[in-house]
């Protein structure tokens, strides 16, 4: 079985400050890793994903994440946030070889960017 833990439910930061949203996962098999963002009153949008290869993954809107297999982590980072980054962020995993759309999501982290 797989599980995903987002270590912070809320992260308040000031505009132009760096931010890190933490995600740890547990799985007995290899997984794909994802970060999704949900803006208010909207559906989820993919930020970035890790399938294989380089452990540093760059996504949209200046976000990046680093896969650390030994620590089973996939933390999301941005060097300088903007007010428009205020949203809910979800980390998710998908077991390799699984047919179908079953993503296992973390509980979400609410990023609040203040001026």
């Amino acid at each position: 079985a797989q599980s995903v833990t987002q270590l912070d439910s809320q992260v308040p930061v000031f505009e132009e400050a760096p931010v890190e949203l933490r995600c740890n996962y547990s799985s007995s098999v290899s997984v794909y890793l994802f970060w999704y963002v949900q803006y208010p009153n909207q559906g989820l949008q993919l930020l970035l994903k890790y399938l294989s290869g380089s452990t540093l993954v760059k996504g949209i809107n200046g976000f990046e994440a680093e896969f650390n297999k030994s620590q089973t982590s996939f933390h999301l980072r941005k060097p300088s946030v903007h007010i428009s980054d205020t949203a809910e962020y979800f980390c998710a995993v998908r077991p390799l070889g699984f047919q179908g759309g079953k993503l296992i999501f973390g509980q979400g982290t609410e990023l609040s960017v203040k001026p």
Binding site: Q42, G43, L44, L46, K49, G101, F105, Q107
Partner: protein, 115 residues
Amino acid sequence: SAVISQKPSRDICQRGTSLTIQCQVDSQVTMMFWYRQQPGQSLTLIATANQGSEATYESGFVIDKFPISRPNLTFSTLTVSNMSPEDSSIYLCSVEDGTGGEKLFFGSGTQLSVL
């Protein structure tokens, strides 16, 4: 990318009634997925809907409570039956990207409140 339209966007319902949520995709897709996002919690897969066959439900979800239809490759409905306040959630429709299946596209969701 797929564009997913979900209706209604929100509704307030009385206990004991049923609500049918519609999901329309702008392209043909093999599998469609229904997720639930309970307040303050992560997303949970309810079921997978394949055209021409019965939906496959995840543990904890049953067809009598959440009947699903999938009449063609672009459309699906989810009904929340005999509702109680515990069914108050956001319900999201999603589809795979069609190129490798690693990521999902999500509709904007249906926010359901049961009184």
